[in-house]
């Protein structure tokens, strides 16, 4: 394959080429296989892959659109490859970051040392809508707040990986990572078999081990369930998929009840005690008694059962404060504070907009910057300056002036690109990487992750909800 796919500029790092004109060593065999394959055959394999996703019913829901909201997650045939060395850095960096963020969560819900020492402003924490004051003084099982994390990484122009977002609430997408691999093995069995790709298939087992480690009672096999908001949730497919992989019950709020401070599951054989809940339901909705009283998805009394240690939740309540996009700017300081280490993975420069000089600079440069609402995820509530209209910029200017705390700005990133098969052509698209980190008795990271692709040419938004696709990710 030749490096000739259009709009690459010199500042952008390409996953296959780096900054050179020749494929990097670890990509060579993939490049050759695809180059030597008749175009017809390549298309046939892409069709086979698409069909496989359709048959497996691997879909997600796009909010805010009127037409049929179930969509197939587009899969790109050409794998994204990460070398063993690169992966080692990522792995060390993520472990460091997760360890520090877990310390942070424990601290702000207990003594608040980092706040009192003036490292992180009190106000930032207490004004965050994901801060759960009810968690103050509550001890969580084994002190682990964030058991399941899906950190978003991007590769910037010098070829290094940087953290774009810490997703510490209910990160999704791991089912696509697993499905992509299954399809890859079917579509390119020989190529895959000869590459020495590290396996990811044990993710389900590792997740189960992680959840088991949280069980409050050690005298018996814990009953673990996955709590879903239900079929209308965008990740419902994933909830069913993971429950099946782990062999645990998939439940909705109405399937559970709390009696005498213990959580039970309704079964045909009566009530059965629940020990660990892998919840894919946001804090707000999890218990109408403790949080949003209008929630009909939650379990009344669950928080009190949790508070008294009778049930474990993964993730803990109140973890969203640590992935507030304004707090993100403080993560390097958080790492330094708790671990006395320099961050291994870089942060992206972030402008906090309640600072007057930052705000002035950002408002004058909206056409160059990316603006994000601090509490949103999934690519909602975002302005990509260079791709925005004047009206959009004016709208964000008003929004920022109205509530500066609610927004941050970052430079528009030169996200790395990777070759993709799009409309029968091989062409470059921007990608990111979401590895999945599990924190039980120890921190483990499955070697890989979800590589998301911005399918629109030149687009920097990779979120599935905004029309992104994905690739299989190979770690060598």
């Amino acid at each position: 394959m030749e490096k000739d796919y259009g709009d690459i500029t010199s500042v952008i790092y390409d996953e296959m080429y780096g900054k050179s004109d020749e494929p990097l060593a670890h990509y060579r065999a993939v490049s050759e296989t695809i180059s030597n394959m008749p175009h017809e055959e390549l298309l046939q394999r892409q069709q086979a892959a698409d069909l496989s996703f359709l048959h497996q019913g691997i879909t997600f829901t796009v909010y805010g659109r009127e037409e049929g909201t179930e969509k197939i997650f587009p899969y790109d045939l050409i794998p994204r490859i990460i070398t063993g060395d690169e992966w080692n850095t990522i792995e060390r960096g993520l472990k460091q970051r997760i360890t520090a963020l877990n310390h942070f969560l424990h601290d702000i819900y207990h003594e608040g040392k980092i706040l009192n020492d003036g490292i992180v402003p009190h106000e930032l924490v207490f004004t965050c809508k994901y801060y759960r004051r009810e968690m103050r003084g509550v001890d969580v099982p084994k002190g682990i707040y964030i058991s399941v994390v899906g950190t978003d990484l991007v590769r910037i122009s010098d070829g290094s990986f940087a953290v774009l977002e810490d997703n510490l609430r209910v990160p999704s997408g791991v089912s696509y990572m697993l499905a992509n691999r299954q399809v890859m093995k079917r579509v390119f069995p020989r190529l895959f078999g000869n590459y020495g790709v590290r396996p990811i298939e044990n993710y389900g087992q590792q997740l189960l081990t992680t959840l088991r480690a949280l069980a409050p009672r050690e005298d018996r096999e814990p009953n673990i369930v996955l709590l879903t908001p239900g079929v209308f949730n965008s990740a419902y497919f994933e909830h069913t998929f993971l429950a099946r992989q782990m062999g645990i019950e998939l439940v909705e709020g109405r399937d559970l009840l709390v009696h005498d401070n213990v959580v039970y599951m309704r079964t045909t054989a009566g009530l059965r005690r629940v020990d660990v809940i892998y919840r894919r339901l946001d804090d707000d909705f999890i218990d109408p008694l403790a949080f949003r009283p209008d929630s009909q998805l939650g379990v009344p009394g669950l928080f009190n059962a949790y508070r008294s240690g009778n049930v474990a939740l993964a993730n803990a309540i109140g973890t969203g404060i640590a992935d507030d996009k304004a707090l993100y700017a403080y993560v390097p300081k958080i790492i330094k504070y708790y671990l006395d280490e320099e961050p291994i993975l870089q942060n992206i420069q972030t402008y906090l907009l309640d600072d007057d000089s930052n705000r002035k600079y950002v408002l004058e440069n909206l056409d160059k910057l990316v603006v994000k609402a601090v509490g949103e995820s999934g690519g909602y509530g975002m302005l990509i300056g260079p791709h925005s209209t004047r009206e959009e910029q004016a709208k964000f200017k008003d929004l920022i002036n109205e509530n500066p705390r609610n927004y941050i700005a970052q430079p528009t990133l030169a996200l790395s690109t990777a070759p993709c098969l799009i409309e029968n052509e091989i062409t470059s698209r921007h990608v990111d990487l979401r590895p999945y980190i599990l924190y039980g008795d120890e921190i483990s990271i499955v070697a890989g992750g979800l590589t998301r692709v911005a399918l629109k040419k030149g687009s920097l938004v990779v979120n599935s909800s905004q029309g992104g696709g994905s690739k299989d990710t190979w770690v060598l």
């Binding site: 207490f126 103050r136 003084g137 008694l289």
Partner: protein, 316 residues
């Protein structure tokens, strides 16, 4: 003074409900101003009672009743000893603003300085602030005394003119409300001056010789503001009183949201009626202060087989 408090709360449902889950914030606090020497709680139907201390230091009981029931009765009896409060100076020196700002900078007052669900700035509140001319030109204690007196002079005490979940703007605009409204408004005003301020729910014991228009309601709400050298000082805007030994604190929070006496969820498509009776008696003298059991309000429930929240409206 020593008090004996009897508090009956009764929910009656038009049909049976199941899976009631409820939290109570009804046990009087023990702190430097008062001592709750005993507290008993009875439930009908009976249930196992659990207890925890919430993030504000309130003692919370909770329970659940899974089986069918069409009535829920909660009876509490408390004995509380309330100390004679410290004598307040007439005013504080103007420099105390600086001292206050320094203490805020160091201490953990954030929860009681930031806006909260009811106590947050709105346009009507800003207008009220102007009308009051509440600025830092006077010393903080004088200012608080003025704000505290403002309500009795300018607002009408009028039950049923606001709902338990009415935003403060309703009471500000109509210039009437109940103690809960006045407390929420005063908190928003005081926090606007960067003085930490919190909501207190509790009981007020009325001596027979100063029965006022609120005499029949012993459950009450007021505020506490934090002042340098004095600590938390209680102000009762409903009665234009500095909180003394007739105010019995039960729970504190950012505003009413944090301290409803009962908060519960049940399953059932029913109408619910809440009645409350409270009797506060001075323990030594047997002086009796009581209110008849009276219907507080009705609340309709129209959703079928889905949990709905009911909050006891302890309106006064």
């Amino acid at each position: 003074m020593h008090f004996e408090i009897f508090h009956l709360t009764r929910f009656e449902y038009s049909n049976s409900v199941t899976e009631s889950v409820m939290e109570l914030r009804m046990q009087p606090l023990t702190n430097e101003n008062q001592h709750c020497t005993s507290f008993s709680l009875q439930l009908s139907p009976s249930a196992r009672i659990f207890e925890f201390v919430d993030q504000f230091g309130n003692i919370v009981q909770h329970f659940d009743i899974p089986e069918k029931h069409s009535k829920l009765e909660i009876t509490t009896k408390s004995f509380v000893e309330v100390n004679e409060p410290q004598k307040l100076p007439e005013s504080l020196p103007l420099e105390s603003w600086k001292q206050l700002d320094e203490e805020i900078e160091k201490g953990d007052f954030w929860e009681f300085l930031l806006p909260s669900q009811f106590a947050h700035p709105t346009q009507p509140l800003t207008d009220l602030q102007k009308e009051l001319n509440a600025t830092r030109e006077k010393d903080p204690l004088t200012l608080l005394r003025e704000i505290n007196s403002f309500f009795k002079a300018n607002f009408e005490y009028a039950p049923e003119t606001t709902e338990v979940d009415s935003p403060i703007d309703v009471a500000i605009k109509q210039r009437s409300g109940v103690c809960q409204d006045f407390a929420n408004i005063m908190i928003a005003l005081v926090r606007g001056l960067k003085i930490p301020c919190r909501y207190v729910s509790g009981y007020l014991f009325h001596r027979t010789n100063d029965r006022s228009h609120i005499a029949q309601d012993a459950t009450h709400a007021w505020v506490e503001a934090y002042l340098p050298t004095l600590g938390w000082v209680g102000f009762d805007p409903t009665n234009d009183l500095i909180v003394g030994d007739r105010h019995i604190s039960v729970a504190v929070g950012r505003d009413y949201t944090d301290v409803p006496p009962t908060r519960g969820v049940f399953k059932g498509n029913v109408e619910s009626q809440l009645s409350v009776a409270v009797r506060v008696r001075q323990a030594e003298t047997d002086e009796i202060e009581s209110s008849e059991l009276h219907a507080i309000r009705r609340k309709g429930f129209t959703v079928t087989m889905k949990p709905k929240i009911q909050e006891a409206a302890q309106q006064q």
